[in-house]
């Protein structure tokens, strides 16, 4: 019990951050009308591609002679880019169609 309490209080910054971000997410998404849910889904999909930043950091922090790390990092960056670029482009394509009217 005391562990949990002190954990919460030590990480309060993070907890507030998480809570507020969740609130923002929920509030913002709640306002999106059904007709835009498919583009919203793919737009959100593109945003979680932000994980690519982790992959870049891994690459930057790895030793240059650690071939395995370099290869895996390389793959991770490719995958992350796919997620980001593909996500945004496909969302844009969908929304372009909505905009015409």
């Amino acid at each position: 019990m005391e562990n949990i309490l002190s954990f919460v209080s030590e990480h309060k910054e993070a907890i507030y951050f998480i809570l507020l971000a969740i609130f923002v997410g929920v509030e913002v998404i709640e306002k999106v009308p059904t007709i835009l849910h498919t583009p919203l889904m793919s737009g959100a999909n593109a945003i979680h591609g932000v994980v690519i930043i982790g992959a870049i950091i891994v690459m930057l922090d790895t030793e240059t002679d650690n071939i395995l790390s370099l290869i895996l990092g390389f793959i991770a960056v490719v995958l992350g880019t796919l997620n980001v670029v593909g996500g945004f482009v496909v969302t844009d394509r969908m929304l372009e169609m909505f905009k015409k009217k």
Binding site: I29, S42, I47, G80, G86, F98
Partner: protein, 465 residues
């Protein structure tokens, strides 16, 4: 200094994510919102490449070349795929890109593990990010295959849920052990990785292909979570913001979809639907006779109608009939017929599916009428043309409390003077239940693939003038 600028880049990116999502709430600003988020993402990525600094960071040209090469490859492939894919393949595409993100998170976890053993504050997010990313990856791949048709039957071993739970418990136990044991144990890490992949596969395999949109939305929020764990690992605010935003957005969308279908999330995941549909519902099949209509009769009927309402459904998407239906609409309007589309909130397989499809074929936005608005209009409608829709016009939702879709609001097409239903056979739709509408004396069936059937209807109509 660089570090400070990087923090500001991240701040800007976080704000663009929020604003981008916010702008998505309006069709007018949605596209710009997507752009805004994309710009923010670019800033965050470039900032990281050039400004990130930790005790281990080095920028040998080999690394930079590799990074840019990877980005170039990803960009080209992602761009091409996204530009080329057909609009009807959207769900597949989203699930594929989602899987990529999950895999990226999993790889990060695998590589970071040995750097973080001993420091529980960073080990925890490392391991959890890896596990969730892997589940999301494996699940997305299966979802993709299912949507694709490659794997089209739900596979359901006996006592499936027990098996599934066992794997899940195993994954959790391994997680706990790795996180709290404080000793580096790479084989176990790979074991955990494998288990997580297996769990991802087992999680999605029993779910029917048609439930995939819900699953994808859920997996979407999983990947968001994995990204957020990455944020904790690196104390990186933009990963945190982005990840949490997507995590909550995905969860909310999942719930919205389930509500619109009048089902619970657990019934989607544990497949209660598939079972009950096989058993119940079919009790009325013998209940009446059905009537056919020929293309020429239908053409005459429509030509001399005053008001036609088109009800598009999943079949329209499958048959890629969105362009030909627009042609039909224009043709009828030329002849002085008033044409509207009735859009059910869960018609098709994704929320807003029909809007996306019809927008693609340039149908005028104002002609797409939502359910609540169009329902009172059906009794002044001469012909309702149901194209590849089934559940969304099933009167059992209103009249039969035993029906699995009972309580779901439907389009009340049976109030119209004539009901024409186009589908390929008498087989059931998504919910797997029979539809009494087809036996209504006012209903005529117009069998055939939507695209072919409508094409013949259009040429018949053209020939008539």
């Amino acid at each position: 200094m660089g570090q400070h600028i990087l923090e500001i880049c991240y701040l800007i990116a976080s704000v663009t994510f929020i604003f981008g999502l916010k702008m998505m709430s309006n069709p007018k600003t949605a596209r710009k919102g997507n752009m805004v988020a994309a710009v923010g993402m670019t800033i965050a990525i470039l900032g990281t490449i050039f400004l990130y600094e930790s005790s281990k960071t080095s920028r040998e040209s080999l690394k930079l070349i590799l990074i840019f090469a990877a980005i170039a490859i990803g960009t080209v492939i992602g761009w091409m795929t996204a530009k080329r894919v057909q609009m009807t393949k959207m769900p597949e595409l989203v699930s594929m890109f989602n899987g990529m993100g999950g895999a990226c998170a999993a790889l990060i976890g695998l590589m970071e593990y040995h750097h973080n053993v001993g420091n529980i504050n960073t080990l925890l997010p490392t391991v959890l990010g890896m596990v969730i990313g892997s589940v999301s990856f494996a699940g997305s791949v299966i979802a993709f295959l299912k949507l694709n048709g490659t794997m089209d039957k739900p596979i359901r071993l006996p006592s499936y849920n027990i098996l599934n739970t066992i794997v899940l418990v195993g994954v959790l136990a391994l997680c706990g052990y790795l996180i709290f044991s404080d000793v580096e144990n790479s084989p176990l890490l790979y074991g955990l990785f494998a288990c997580a992949l297996i769990y991802g596969v087992m999680f999605v395999i029993p779910i029917g292909g048609a439930d995939m949109p819900v699953v994808i939305s859920l997996l979407n929020s999983f990947t968001g979570l994995a990204a957020a764990f990455g944020g904790f690992l690196y104390d990186n605010k933009v990963m945190l913001t982005g990840g949490i935003l997507v995590g909550s957005a995905g969860t909310l969308l999942t719930i919205v979809m389930c509500n619109a279908m009048n089902r619970s999330l657990s019934s989607v995941i544990f497949g209660a639907f598939g079972k009950s549909s096989a058993a119940g519902g079919g009790s009325n099949t013998e209940g009446g006779s059905i009537k056919d209509i020929s293309v020429s009769d239908l053409a005459v009927l429509m030509n001399y109608s005053k008001k036609v309402v088109i009800v598009p459904g999943y079949g329209l998407a499958v048959a890629h009939a969105q362009h030909i239906i627009h042609e039909l609409e224009l043709l009828l309007e030329e002849r002085g017929v008033e044409v509207k589309y009735a859009i059910h909130p869960v018609a098709g397989r994704m929320p807003g599916h029909m809007n996306v499809l019809l927008a693609e074929s340039n149908v005028d936005y104002g002609k797409l009428v939502e359910m609540e608005e169009i329902n009172p209009e059906f009794d002044q409608t001469d012909v309702v043309l149901v194209v590849g829709a089934n559940d969304v016009v099933n009167p059992a939702a209103k009249s039969d409390p035993a029906s699995p879709i009972f309580g779901m609001p439907i389009l009340e097409v049976d109030k119209a003077k004539h009901i024409i239903v186009n589908k390929r056979s008498m087989s059931a739709g998504y919910a797997g239940i029979d539809n009494l509408l087809f036996y209504d004396p006012k209903t005529s069936m117009f069998f055939g693939d939507a695209k072919k059937a409508l094409t013949s209807l259009v040429s018949e109509l053209k020939a008539m003038s």
